[in-house]
Subunit: 344 residues, 2 copies
């Protein structure tokens, strides 16, 4: 029986990183934060659970918009809350991409973009990064939407806000800078949004705020884009608990900075350790390190898996394969490096 | 600048019922449950908040699928968890409706369906209920997807599972029975899914489980449909707190039945009271009552609003206008009826 649209029938679907349900794993495969969220977050959740579960949440999460606007120096109305930044990306594709339209993304980057294009049934082009991880000339030509992760995954590299603004200014379409890892980098494009109506920045609380379990992300853009996202998202896309928790998280700047700095310190240690073991790494602007090596790293991945250490194995045609290792706690990274010493 | 797809530019967006942020309101406008959720739900949320926020949730919410499968007598793999049943409906439109395809729904019914069709940019037809609230002949002709709310909103009327199975069997497409209010009715189509591959039932925990603030719904269908929904939904569409809370809620059958029965008892009282005041009502299978009257009810709505009593005013061309009144607690209904006595 012919129930579904053609592109839906043929697509495979995005496969998220393996989530072991048992215990005893050293989990360094999905870029989660190894530290717990702020105690303010727990308090907000408990308070909201007691008082506010039976009624619908605020459809536009105004409490969060105001807190985020203040934190990032933009008007609250420029902020749109989402059920994870993946939802922000999906809603952007639904706003911009009809069946003949083109989505462009750099290569290699976040593989979900391809899945979102398949669901829309639109055209999709991966335009390869240059050798020094810059966007190629004519990156947005012919596009109706462009996604650029910055910092990029899996490379961990970063373009400057100035470089991205130049590309956004020339784009014929909304230009989305996916800053899922932005809190671990030195610079953000949020400060450039006032200069460019096409520029959209998406963010998540999953990684830098230790809230992967909560599903909360947001987009920042000028009203012409922000108001359209509001129209197309599900009317109650964020639940009352996540709105309260995300608002508390983003207000607790001291907690955020303390644990972000810990991750950055451990990242240096991880990168140095991998280099010493003969991996080739690129300086990371994220909470993971991309490690390549002469010859296949798949046997190393398998050997780690046997020892219940989970990292992410990824292969990108033309760019080779590598291990994407999340920055865990110091003791987890020590354990990884110790086992790697036995393996390589 | 021409940023968005044509249908997105022209659409208005769904307007959810008014959510007052202050206090002192008698809120009978969005069919929330006036009772708190099960204590098991609160316990599950607090436990999960302490242990599980920093890591990604189970992408397919297996704990919930198993509990729901057991509760409804279907295999766990037939259950797909969503961020509210609105997300289930949106994902169904993304699976089935390309730009030339047709969505059919009865009229009058849930106005969100039209918004979802606009977002897809597909064709949309409302095919009016017959005078006795049955589906018209040829209801699904030419359709790629059909939505039928059962019980219906705003009428509160119900078709039998047998009637719906007959229509589903003849449908050229997935036939979605939206049972958002199913827990307040006598019969459900879930028991018919084994007989019809096209039949999809969607449910929400917002109303009957007092969890509107949580955003949790689900769809039940045979694997050919269920697996496609899994491919198209966001990979982590449900957060860890809502999965744990929904699982606890659906397992606490005794609590559910106690408070469902209270709502049903108050519904009788509300309906009788409205009838005595000269409204014309239809026996309701939901947690609201649809009340019409000779002449406009808009002045009555306005007078209630002035007294901080919120009900929903709705007008459907050809079917007239009415007040949709949610079943609150007995004291809230008494207060409403008392004020109505002064107004009408």
């Amino acid at each position: 029986m012919d129930y579904f649209r053609e592109p839906i029938k043929t697509m495979k679907g995005y496969v998220p990183g393996f989530q072991p349900q048992g215990s005893g794993w050293t989990k360094l495969n999905t870029n989660e934060n190894p530290y717990p969220p702020s105690p303010q977050v727990l308090e907000a959740i408990e308070r909201t659970a007691r008082d506010r579960l039976a009624i619908y949440p605020d459809p536009v999460a105004n409490a969060f918009r105001e807190a985020a606007g203040e934190r990032f120096g933009v008007p609250a109305e420029w902020v749109v809350a989402f059920n994870g930044s993946d939802e922000a990306l999906a809603v952007l594709t639904r706003c911009c991409l009809g069946e003949d339209d083109l989505l462009v993304v750099p290569f290699p980057s976040y593989t979900l973009y391809h899945t979102l294009a398949e669901i829309q049934g639109c055209r999709f082009e991966e335009r390869p990064f240059t050798e020094d991880w810059k966007l190629p000339a004519g990156f947005t030509t012919g596009a109706k939407l462009a996604f650029v992760p910055n910092p990029n995954a899996p490379s961990g590299t970063c373009l400057t806000p100035k470089e991205l603004l130049t590309v956004a200014d020339q784009a014929p379409c909304p230009f989305v800078v996916d800053e899922a890892y932005g809190d671990f980098a030195d610079a953000s494009c949020i400060g450039k949004i006032a200069e460019c109506e096409r520029l959209v920045v998406t963010r998540t609380l999953s990684k830098s705020y230790s809230l992967a379990g909560l599903r909360f992300g947001f987009a920042i853009a000028q009203p012409v884009v922000a108001n359209t996202l509001l129209k197309v998202k599900d009317s109650y896309n964020c639940d009352a608990l996540s709105i309260a928790a995300a608002t508390a998280a983003i207000k607790d700047v001291a907690y955020f900075e303390t644990y972000r700095d810990r991750v950055l310190a451990t990242r240096t240690r991880l990168q140095r350790g991998l280099d010493e073991l003969g991996f080739s790494t690129i300086p990371s602007n994220t909470n993971f390190v991309w490690a390549q090596r002469d010859g296949s790293v798949k046997p190393i991945f398998d050997a780690l898996l046997e020892r219940k250490i989970l990292v992410r194995y990824m292969a990108f045609p033309g760019y080779g394969e590598g291990l994407r290792v999340s920055v865990g706690r110091d003791d987890q990274i020590d354990h990884l490096l110790e086992e790697l010493r036995r393996i390589v």
